[in-house]
């Protein structure tokens, strides 16, 4: 390992521009002559549009255009789509309702875009939007997924608001396992709805160039190529080669910037209509209405145990809220990213899961950090914890009894786990958390009048999404490989072009570490280029903790090719047989001699091409690769949360957090730990603070940061983060992925700890002081009555 190679905590290359205020986020970019867009959004959750009168707005000073669904249709702009086909149990395809970028005929959620004003200045656009008169016929609405099937029908294509009724696993075998079980643990779980709230609000600048009849879109996106593909192939705004999508610095995504949203489509379209670049920047309160939310499951789950505490079966029924329209990947989240992880870290012989996806009058729901896997982990880890309590078995011990111990392991829900050591991460976490002295700490807390609890979460996730053939057979509309190109310059410096996208993950550093490690060149001599469809040929983007396992594997593959070509150049330069050239520590050596050439020599000679003829070898040193994974990767670990609860107020304080994760080979431990910290914070947010609440009329009650509780520094502890390592066998680097682990593990650990402290089976998320206080009261009453 060099000082900047794989495994080194290299300080980030990207930081200089961020700490000096010189990043380039989308809203920082101004195009000459740009105009500003403001959307008029529906104030109703469900209504028919009788008429729209834009004349008063259009006549205001500075207004360049007022556009509605009618103009969208006149220009034959296509609908937004969901790219993953799911079939119901009865074989019927999911019911995808049309999703125009501006409402046509009706609105289906509060915030549904109805019209857009483009004006010289933003204040002018905002003023004009207020002058648009929309005549609505308000319809009854439904926001609660549990009531969706009985609610007013939202889309013609979907009777009973049902998108699909899907199932995975063997029902008969699972029922049989339950019939012979010694004990069954049952839980009703609501996985609370969340607003992702990346700190940078979404933004888009559309620009049409009449001279070349082509478009450019600057956009806060995690996957610019997928955006381009969808906007050209489905929305039909421009052919793919006439649309350039640039994702500059992006201020966090967490899934919410994967999707293709109405606003960027409209900004592009409007730029052609008005002949000016059009900029739209979301307000935070607008983001609550318009960004895809996460989670929102209503679940009944049962776990069956035999007399030795072995899990013999798991049965789950989930209603998943997908909101008013199907967002880009929404159908896959509560199915193949959820039910496939229900085996957790355990050898469970029989699992059966049914998922009903429903429309409601709420903003679409799609992937949010963890996407399906936090929901699965919460089900499994809550059941195991409650089961342990009911069976009188120490929770870590019950987990240990059920851990999968040999690999590969085929679960009953599709996945083949390739490697792991769950016992090792549990053992290390128990040690760091000083579990054996927990009773002492609990007594000490009790002396201060506090209730102390401890909770575990031994989670697993499937990352490195994903083998294209496998996901294709499950309904995905795209392949999930990644691409890379390594360009070596004549002076030996290197540019890496990647289809991954960094919006906080530090790819400019970790990807450069890989190159530095492999080629033996200083990390300063490597640049990582991403986020521009004109520069990078194609890519699938960053989500699902895939950029290490898939994105870096593509780079490794391209580096193999670069090395092979460079050896050919070196053989000519050193006048030796190609087979005798060794590449080591950045040098080409003729084996068994002292003849050598430096990396820079070889790079130069690849380009000046004086030492070989064109028939023998092509000049240049640039190679590309596409890497398609052969399996998912399976990061796993153990998180332990310790809390103190104030019985008088219900307030929960996290007093200890231990995370021991197995991410396989770690490229940069500093960055990986940072990912774990951030994930835990979002998981704790879900467990204790965050909740996107719609009332029964479909009004969003938590529509700003005043009402939606984001975790602040004072809500969170410092974390103890450690690792165990089993190499991932399915990719060349042995990496698994770390971006979502914390968000997946944390909610169950918190709720397990809080319920342990309070002595109840369940407290709904978020466990606010009020919810905890009520739980304490509900526990106290039966005792008093007895």
């Amino acid at each position: 390992m060099t000082g900047t190679g794989i495994g080194a905590a290299v300080r980030r290359k990207e930081d200089l521009r961020f700490i000096t205020g010189r990043g380039h986020y989308t809203d920082d970019i101004s195009r000459p002559g740009q105009a500003y867009a403001c959307f008029l959004r529906s104030p109703h959750a469900h209504a028919r549009i009788r008429s729209i009168d834009t004349s008063a707005a259009a006549n205001l000073p500075g207004v360049l255009a007022v556009l509605t669904g009618a103009e969208l249709q006149a220009d034959k702009i296509g609908n937004l789509i969901c790219g993953w086909m799911i079939h119901s149990k009865d074989g019927s395809p999911m019911k995808m309702a049309p999703h125009p970028a501006l409402a046509v005929g009706k609105v289906c959620y509060v915030g549904d875009p109805v019209a857009v004003v483009v004006a010289e200045t933003l204040p002018q656009a905002k003023d004009a939007a207020e002058k648009i008169v929309v005549d609505y016929e308000v319809l009854p609405a439904v926001a609660d997924p549990a009531k969706a099937k009985e609610g007013p029908q939202i889309h013609e294509v979907a009777p009973r608001n049902t998108i699909y009724e899907w199932a995975l696993g063997d029902k008969a075998a699972t029922d049989a396992a339950f019939a012979s079980a010694r004990h069954v643990t049952r839980l009703d779980i609501v996985n609370n709805r969340l607003a992702p709230n990346a700190l940078e609000p979404r933004a888009a600048i559309g620009e049409y160039d009449a001279g070349s009849d082509s478009f450019t879109l600057w956009n806060t996106t995690q996957n610019p190529h997928v955006a381009r593909l969808v906007i050209s192939a489905f929305v039909g705004l421009a052919p793919e080669h006439k649309l350039r999508v640039i994702a500059p610095d992006v201020g966090g995504g967490f899934g919410s910037k994967i999707f293709i949203y109405p606003e960027e489509v409209v900004a592009l379209w409007a730029s052609k209509r008005v002949g000016r670049p059009v900029k739209w920047t979301c307000d935070r309160s607008e983001a609550f209405l318009a960004d895809a939310h996460g989670r929102d499951h209503v679940t009944h789950a049962e776990m069956a145990f035999d007399d030795k505490g072995k899990i013999v079966g798991l049965r789950v029924h989930t209603i998943a809220n997908l909101g008013a329209y199907m967002s880009t990947f929404s159908s896959s989240i509560p199915t193949y990213l959820y039910a496939t992880l229900l085996s957790g870290q355990y050898a469970i012989p029989h699992i059966y899961c049914e998922v009903d996806a429903v429309y409601t009058n709420t903003v679409p729901v799609d992937a949010y950090r963890g996407a399906g896997r936090p929901e699965a982990t919460f089900v499994v880890e809550r059941l195991v914890e409650v089961g342990a309590r009911e069976l009188g078995i120490d929770p870590p011990e019950l987990r240990r009894r059920n851990f999968i111990k040999s690999f590969p392991h085929q679960t009953p829900v599709i996945m083949t786990y390739d490697a792991g050591d769950y016992e090792a991460s549990l053992r290390k976490a128990l040690e760091i958390a000083d579990y054996k002295n927990f009773p002492k700490r609990k007594r000490e807390s009790a002396r201060r009048g506090k209730l102390r609890g401890i909770g575990f979460s031994t989670y697993i996730e499937a990352c490195g999404i994903a083998p294209s053939q496998a996901v294709g057979s499950l309904g995905a509309g795209v392949g999930l490989w990644e691409s890379a190109e390594v360009r070596v310059n004549p002076t030996g410096s290197v540019e890496v072009l990647t289809g991954s996208h960094s919006h906080g993950q530090g790819h400019e550093t970790t990807f450069a570490q890989l190159v530095s490690d492999r080629l033996g060149i200083p990390i300063e001599n490597v640049s990582v280029i991403h986020g521009d469809t004109d520069k990078v040929q194609f890519g699938m983007g960053t989500y699902g903790s895939r950029s290490g396992a898939v994105g870096m594997s593509a780079i490794a593959k391209a580096l193999d090719k670069v090395e092979a070509k460079a050896k050919k150049v070196a053989s000519h330069l050193l006048e030796a047989a190609e087979g005798d050239i060794e590449f080591k520590d950045g040098k080409f050596i003729v084996s068994g001699t002292d003849k050598s050439a430096t990396w820079a020599d070889v790079a130069l000679h690849a380009y000046i091409a004086h030492k070989f003829s064109g028939q023998e070898l092509e000049p240049g040193l640039k190679e590309g690769a596409f890497y398609d994974p052969t399996n998912f990767t399976f990061p796993a670990g153990c998180h332990i949360c310790e809390v103190e609860v104030d019985p008088d107020t219900g307030e929960v304080t996290i007093v200890g957090w231990t995370a021991v994760d197995d991410f396989g080979v770690v490229i940069n431990p500093m960055i990986v730990e940072g990912q774990v910290h951030g994930g835990i914070a979002q998981g704790v947010g879900q467990a204790l603070l965050e909740h996107a609440v719609y009332n029964s009329d479909g009004q969003l009650v938590t529509g700003s940061l005043m009402d939606y509780a984001m975790p602040r520094a004072g809500n969170l502890p410092s974390y103890k983060v450690d690792m165990t390592v089993t190499r991932c066998p399915s990719n060349p680097l042995g990496v698994k992925g770390c971006g979502e682990a914390g968000a997946i593990a944390a909610p169950a650990a918190v709720i397990n700890a809080v319920t342990d402290a309070v002595g109840v089976e369940d407290i709904p998320m978020p466990a606010t002081p009020q919810a905890v206080w009520s739980a304490i009261r509900s526990r106290a009453q039966p005792r008093q009555a007895a």
Partner: protein, 160 residues
């Protein structure tokens, strides 16, 4: 339109702006100082924090005319003579940022925290003082570490 005049990062500036122009708009749109960010519309996130006469202020909740004649420092003005401010260094050294969007506001808030609370900041103080700044990426762990170290480094560099 009224004229506002102030000193921004040591340079006198003046411009005609609409009265409703916020300080953050003035900085970002008129002066093209885009390091100061807007993360919310309810004065909750702190991405917009700048110093006005040495005091941390949310520039999203301040009209440009309110700081008439004042000295405004933004993230772009923190490094002096090509040398990073110790707090900037500390954020990089301790990985106190990921996407970088909250970072300018965090650093400006942190520097002013040191002005008010001194160089020996314990974890509890730092966490309490960060109440006006949101970060969605880091879970705050490394921000707290960075501020702790940056505060000390500010003393060392002041003494040097």
């Amino acid at each position: 339109m009224p004229t506002v005049s102030m000193t921004v990062n040591g340079k006198p500036v003046s411009a005609e702006v609409e009265p409703r122009t916020l300080l953050v708009q003035f900085l970002r749109e008129h002066l093209r100082l885009t390091g100061t960010h807007v993360g919310c519309d309810t004065s909750q996130c702190g991405a917009c924090v700048v110093h006005v006469d040495g005091v941390a202020m949310k520039s999203c909740t301040t009209f440009a005319w309110q700081v008439e004649g004042c000295h405004v420092t933004t993230i772009e003005g923190l490094a002096k003579d090509g040398k990073l401010h110790p707090m900037q260094e500390a954020f990089r050294e301790h990985h106190g940022l990921q996407c970088g969007f909250c970072t300018p506001g965090m650093i400006m808030a942190a520097v002013e925290m040191v002005y008010r609370k001194g160089h020996d900041l314990d974890e509890k103080t730092i966490r309490e003082e960060l109440d006006g700044n949101l970060c969605r990426c880091t879970g705050y762990h490394n921000i707290v570490k960075a501020i702790h170290a940056g505060a000390r480094a500010m003393r060392d560099s002041a003494g040097a």
